[in-house]
Symmetry: C2
Subunit: 273 residues, 2 copies
């Protein structure tokens, strides 16, 4: 995939991992990222900016190196000032795979927003790179993004905080650790405020892979839930007191497992090959 | 309501309470049942058959008597053999309100199924009575009914057991303690097996009131969730191993609060009056 030169309307691949991916046994998802980034010819950059320290990137450095990638590097980008350094952007711009670790999505968004590094990441993506992220590293890819919130399957006013994300996609709202932390409520609440977007809830050790901005496929052990508010109307979103239940009608719900594919334009599951 | 004579196509009222209704303070839902049953002219029968003992009916006897109902009676129907006694059926057939307590829905279904008492309950309903039930007493009203299951917001193969219910409605699958016990998954799993039915998940201290078989309205503190599988297809319901996630597309989800109304034929929320 990553070797193919694409036009700007046919960018690379987004790999949204719901957190807690297997890093020690079969490493199925990380192997998929490595292959998508070019396999042995891959130039992989690990960005631990969402976390507190460079060490959170070390395990990924190890895994991708063990797979045999030509070049794997951790960029210790923890300050916004460093995100305009040419040493940093040079590595990002030539990467065929960029992997963002977990941590706090607001942290990585703050460091990258409006910087040369973010332009370099988007440039790599436009030229066909695979941009992967796990947990916070997945949530941060959209704009707006889900910054934080509380658990529960019931949509409640004010249960989710949105923030400015990286904007690699502007049509999806991404949530992670989805069923493990019972986050349907906050994803429903988020899409009711952004009815032009699709909500994507990714389980742990599972990935939603998005190609060409329009096809989503699922790999891994869990599920990917898609919450489509395009036919919905809400009776009380604007007026409900904080933490009270939101009333709504016609949210369309899809839950996909490994191997299922979804057309993001038609908003429907694609038939199995 | 209950005083109006209706044809068989216009039966009485079903009041499905999600359990844990207020019995000591404002008693909003029980007051509603009392009024719907005819108020001071009501002839109310409390059926504690889902529970272990007559005592579970005592609080309802007290509450309805305090409200001023003309006649309130607990029928201690705990054995299937007793359900054909004419003493029992005589009380049921002339009731304007029949209230079924919580407990185990399989127990009350076993006691009543195929008996003169169930025919008497259906007869009272056809003549306009209000049939109320809380928790197990709500779940048992449909046929099939949700007999038991496990919690979780993710639909999984085999997570719900269905059984033969009373059949006061054959188009709805009713679940209770809905968000409190995180039961969306089992309701999704149930309707994926019965795609002609609508799933109704009722929260605690909340009721779904169904009139004329076609209008649902919500009263109480929580929400009523409606899960409509009529447009859905499932990729793997028939083949998924036990407890594995079910994949599906286009389940339509509605969540209603106090005062919202829903057209069960058109399957859409009705505009506010």
């Amino acid at each position: 995939m990553a070797k193919t030169k694409r036009s700007e309307s046919q960018p690379g691949t987004l790999m949204l991992i719901g957190g807690a991916e297997d890093k020690f046994e079969q490493k199925f998802l990380l192997k998929w990222f490595f292959e998508s980034s070019g396999g042995r010819k891959a130039r992989i950059v690990v960005l631990p900016s969402a976390s507190e320290s460079e060490e959170s990137g070390a395990i990924y450095l190890q895994v991708f190196t063990d797979f045999g990638a030509r070049s794997v590097e951790i960029i210790p980008l923890f300050k916004r000032d460093d995100a305009d350094l040419s040493d940093v952007t040079r590595e990002l711009v030539k990467a065929t795979g960029i992997f963002m670790t977990g941590g706090d999505q607001s942290k990585i968004a703050h460091i990258l927003h409006g910087t040369a590094s973010l332009r370099a990441i988007k440039g790599a993506y436009e030229r066909g790179a695979t941009i992967g992220g796990t947990s916070a590293g997945a949530a941060v890819m959209s704009d707006p993004m889900i910054a934080s919130g509380i658990g529960g399957s019931l949509a409640r006013s004010g249960m989710v905080k949105l923030g400015e994300g990286l904007g690699l996609t502007q049509s999806l709202l991404i949530d992670q650790h989805f069923h493990q932390r019972n986050r349907l409520g906050r994803l429903l609440t988020a899409v009711l405020s952004y009815p032009d977007m699709l909500g994507i809830g990714v389980d742990e050790d599972t990935a939603a892979v998005i190609r060409h901005n329009d096809h989503l496929s699922v790999i891994g052990r869990g599920t990917v839930t898609i919450v489509d508010p395009s036919e919905a109307h809400s009776a009380n979103v604007a007026t409900t007191p904080d933490k009270s239940p939101l009333a709504f009608s016609r949210i369309v719900l899809h839950t996909l497992v490994h191997g299922n594919r979804f057309d993001l334009n038609k908003r429907e599951m694609m038939s199995q090959e």
